[in-house]
Point group: C2
Chain length 436, copies 2
């Protein structure tokens, strides 16, 4: 054997306890999404290249894993498939191709890996799970509210309690720019600059708006003042002067009303005028979630009424959200991961057939049972194995026990040993395991 | 929108009920493997190309999906990664790279997709789930027996009851060839021909052994007669004349003894001398499972003591098995798939905040709740939506109900409607759902 081969750069082998921890989290999320009536959707790991090409912009397209043609075409060096980059483009494809076969609206969740050839770095992987819920085919504010509630309940269930939804509306943001006379073509870039408020501060943002975005210093300062204010009164006043502004505010307020009606406490959701969300495709209410102890935003979403069409599907209204499950798992991972041990370890000192029978009986009682498969006939060595398996109980069945039709049960925590009739072994094991 | 894009050739979009059905099956398998003390392992979807290259033989290597280098290297047309082709090569890599950090023996299960660029055809996919259990680092016959038991229990749990394990031993097969004076270098090709017995019949096999494998007609006929016999007495006699033959028979008999001790009924496992298994890497006991109503073998496995080394890991004894879960799911799929509907459909005729609150309360009782998100204000249309969602109960909350502080519950099966106080809606819903 040469140098031991590793998993490819930016990917991970997930060993037992990590797989279990992740699966438990995904199951919790699935269950919550199902309770809201969302349906699971699983699309293939790869898509035809043309489905993916041109959907993510120039920078992102460099991060797409492309798959070489096969057989005689391999030599062409050309690709015809690509690993999925997110769950949204496959969703748009499914909407386009299944159409009326899907429920209306189509509410789906997707929890599965996506692949991006990002430069590997601490906590960023090239294969990672994205967790999305989306409702396609409804303009109702109830649909937006439901996504927020499902995200909030998910975070709670994952043990992230100290979180806040910051809410805004793309309509409100564009109305504000309108009030300030910003040309609508410049909207996205001006919003992009405003999005840096938390990072570079009000003064630097105002400066950039003047220097790079062509706003006058007065306008830039006033605009920044509006959105940066801790209190939203000033921006509300401004927005109430136009129809689009009123509509945007109504969108924000309705989302807050509906979600708090359903029990989201009002300290967990607030209108934050500075919350812009970088992505251009949002058209209505938008939100991000920040939580104490977690960097950046750990969930986000909004309404994106024309995105599905842009991605090659039909032009249908839609809204959706996403949970940064990898980030949450990574931070919680440093806390505690309990190893799953054996309930019962069967040592083997002869009498294999009896032990096979006993093993089957114990597993029939929903116990996790392992058997010593090594070559040592020394009990000490076998008990060390049982210990390494974090076994709660070891079964000892040597010549003496066999002669008497008995087994010895060893409590691996206390070291206590009890000898019981072989036929009663399973019920005794149960008693020991159920003891406090 | 142009022509609706499809999933790539040979792949599938899995919609709601199919995802649920598959997940239920995978969960059942995981639970069984866990009860035997197997640990889950998840490796990345792709491996470095050199880990995969040269591991599967020339024909298979054409079926590997290779991933193009990225960035400036894309233009080279070269690949540096490949989608995993099975779970065994990744296992060998993990064994080699984690070594002593893994339990000894290392018992792991893997249930996940693999990718092969096979020609797409009915029931054969390019992305499909393989389900493997393997025990690495033990020579014990108990380890082999455990794999057989776990496979048998899995099949039972999946609803495949009428199955039989056909057992043989590579040692026994090679011993038989030795008895007949077949050169050991010719062993694999002779076994390959014998493997065709069920397909082409005894006469054709004997002919091929003579023509293509160089056996004399007498030897060929006698050899075929041994392995093709319904009764294994003749081959047992022959094998008992050599040490290797005795060892092979002992291996077979021990596997049957141990598994039947644990409750596998003796009609479900038998020594079948003609059962060869095509793959060269097996070194000890081997088995295949056939079941009434399922074509081919639906599970298989055996001992492969040097395979891990061949695949780039350390030279450790190992045994393992695999369940043809896709085949089983495909055949069962034609039987019945029940659509998961809503427990409660909330129609919306105003009073949205109240309905949001009620929805949260119902979900808190572990119910699956959907809300009407369409634009129609007509109850008939909303009830049609509820019907399409396979809802059990619809909640009606019009102006009349609101004025009285009540709601109407409609049983969607019987059409019965009951009006109850709003505050008691949740408990009434529960009563209706719990009624037989």
């Amino acid at each position: 054997m040469g140098q031991a081969a590793q998993a490819p750069s930016g990917t991970r082998d997930l060993l037992a306890d990590e797989v279990r921890r992740r699966k438990a989290a995904f199951d919790v999320l699935s269950q919550i999404f199902e309770s809201f009536g969302f349906d699971p959707l699983e699309t293939p790991a790869f898509e035809n290249l043309d489905v993916i090409t041109g959907k993510y912009g120039e920078e992102a397209s460099k991060l797409i894993f492309k798959i070489l043609k096969r057989g005689a075409h391999e030599a062409s060096g050309q690709a015809d498939l690509a690993l999925r980059y997110d769950h949204t483009v496959p969703l748009a494809r499914v909407i386009g191709s299944y159409g009326a076969k899907l429920p209306t609206p189509y509410k789906r969740y997707a929890i599965g890996p996506v692949w991006r050839a990002d430069r590997p770095q601490e906590g960023r992987f090239r294969e990672f799970v994205q967790c999305d819920i989306d409702t396609v085919g409804s303009q109702s504010a109830l649909a937006d509210a439901e996504i927020v509630l499902a995200l909030a309940q998910s975070l709670d269930a994952l043990g992230v309690h100290d979180f806040t939804f910051t809410v805004n509306s793309r309509k409100a943001l564009y109305a504000l720019l309108e009030v300030y006379g910003v040309d609508s073509d410049d909207g996205p870039s001006v919003l992009g600059t405003l999005d840096k408020l938390d990072k570079i501060g009000a003064a630097a943002v105002a400066k950039e708006l003047t220097a790079a975005r062509g706003l006058t210093p007065d306008v830039a300062e006033s605009l920044v003042g509006d959105v940066a204010a801790d209190n939203s009164d000033r921006v509300r006043q401004r927005l109430n002067t136009t129809e689009q502004g009123k509509a945007g505010l109504a969108e924000v307020d309705r989302l807050i009303e509906l979600t708090t009606s359903a029990g989201l406490t009002s300290d967990r959701i607030a209108y934050v005028p500075r919350m812009v969300r970088g992505l251009d495709y949002y058209t209505g209410a938008i939100y991000e979630v920040v939580a104490a102890g977690y960097p950046g935003s750990i969930a986000a979403g909004g309404r994106y009424d024309h995105l599905v069409a842009t991605l090659g599907g039909p032009d249908v209204p839609a809204c959706g959200g996403s949970i940064g499950i990898e980030r949450i798992l990574a931070i919680q991972g440093s806390q505690d991961t309990e190893r799953r041990g054996l309930d019962v370890a069967l040592t083997v000192l002869g009498g294999e057939e009896d032990l096979m029978r006993l093993g089957a009986e114990l597993r029939g009682q929903n116990l996790r049972v392992g058997m010593y498969f090594g070559s040592s006939t020394k009990l000490g060595k076998q008990l060390k194995w049982a210990h390494d398996q974090s076994a709660r109980i070891s079964v000892l069945y040597g010549p003496e026990e066999r002669a008497e039709g008995e087994v010895t049960l060893r409590d691996m925590r206390s070291g206590d040993q009890t000898r019981v009739p072989f036929t009663e072994a399973a019920s005794h094991v149960r008693k020991v395991l159920e003891a406090p």
